[in-house]
Amino acid sequence: MIVKFFLLKLLAIFMVFSMNSLNASAMASAEAPSTHKEETYQSQSFTEMVGGFLRSTGVNAFLNPDPDELDSSGHKMSDFHKSWGRLLMIFITFFLFWLAIKKGFEPLLLLPIAFGGLLANIPVAGIAGEHGFLGVIYHMGLSNEMFPILIFMGVGAMTDFGPLLSNPKTALLGGAAQFGIFGTLVGAVALTQMGFVDFTLQQASAISIIGGADGPTSIFIASKLAPELLGAIAVASYSYMAMVPIIQPPIMKALTTDAERKIKMTTLRHVSRLEKLVFPIMVLSLAILVLPEATPLIGAFMFGNFLKESGVVERLNDTLQNSLINTVTIFLGLGVGSKLAADQFLVPETMFIMALGIVAFSVGTASGVLMAKVMNMFPGNKINPLIGSAGVSAVPMAARVSNKVGMEYDRTNMLLMHAMGPNVAGVIGSAVAAGVLISLFVK
């Protein structure tokens, strides 16, 4: 009996309590939605709704740009850059898609860059702005030079220094090709002196590094010395790298005689594993002694190569060569693409950068070929001047071009491995040149 009474009492208490709380929550929910309604939504007529929606469409944003819109660095944008400029840039990215897919121009990079450019030119959404995802990617790895370094690790893991070790003197060809860099530097400051453009020495240096034909190095230097020109420099550098098979052969043919193009080079000797293992450490030590400014690039490059040649970390080597470099390439491409925004790309400087870039590239190719001809004046094994053009970095495309041109004149003349020597020396050469340029400005 007592137990039953107690249970009833308990039940009653529970009921009262739960009634109370129910009431309270009902009251709360009755209040909350009403305030919510007042804050964000006001009843409006259907015409007003349609009008408001139309004002938020892309069509309207292109035709009547928002006068207060700011670019990613907080400056006011001109009307042209907000309307027709954006449309023009979107069509340029379509053209880049066509180059990448139909023409096969370096699609691995060109596609992410072009798509990034397409996204960056969307009005209203602000994808390339500070809080848009392209802007986040840009600040994550491009403005602090992280992605180029990671790419260099992967390239290091993919590089075989065997051909260079078996014929060391071909490294000089990789050095001569750096004339492209410094020749263009003179050209860029000459243009400034004559009053066509207004490039500072820093900007001129960043532009001239396009002549090294090395995408990551160009980005590394540009983000250090002239971040405002990064987009144009990266696009110029990568598009000329993709056009190596078109730009180089005419220059190579013009500078060589038929007999020179048929020179057969002696077979490469076998290089022992120990030599390949010591080489990266040796080059890095030299860089430490001569030019510490170049060690971020050379250090990352040699790290990748050392892992590969050590032969004991196959998993890490595999990651560097495949997953890591592929992931970073996607981010790098999108990040560079974010700089294709109309307000940053459609400026007169871009035209000069594209023009100076191709001059840099051609001078680099020509001086590599000429250097090989100079070296043939000295006694010793003759060098086929066609491999001189591979001294511009662009691994391994430039070496393949040397091979292809060589085969046009003699089907049996395989130059590919010989050309890999100057090719990898070119990478080291441009990293050294980059180090010199940085050391001149960073005091």
Partner: protein, 76 residues
């Protein structure tokens, strides 16, 4: 006083190309020395001659198979 940018550019060129070539020449020299030292002190063991013989025989078999396939293809 306004600096002559072109002269400045040529100065950069001299220093830059000088450093690049200096670096590469030192690299070539140390590469040559390193290779000769390594090949003298730690010569790589020569390949086992039996292996190459076996490989040559394998090659012959492959060549025979390819020739057979080609002639078969031409007849067919």
């Amino acid at each position: 006083m306004e600096t002559n940018l072109i002269i400045e550019g040529f100065k950069f060129m001299g220093l830059g190309m000088g450093t690049v070539f200096l670096f590469l020449i030192v690299m070539i020299a140390s590469m040559t020395i390193m290779s000769s030292v390594i090949n003298k002190l730690f010569p790589e063991p020569h390949q086992n001659p039996d292996d190459t013989v076996a490989k040559k025989q394998d090659n012959k078999k492959v060549i025979a198979a390819i020739t057979a396939a080609i002639s078969h293809h031409r007849q067919g």
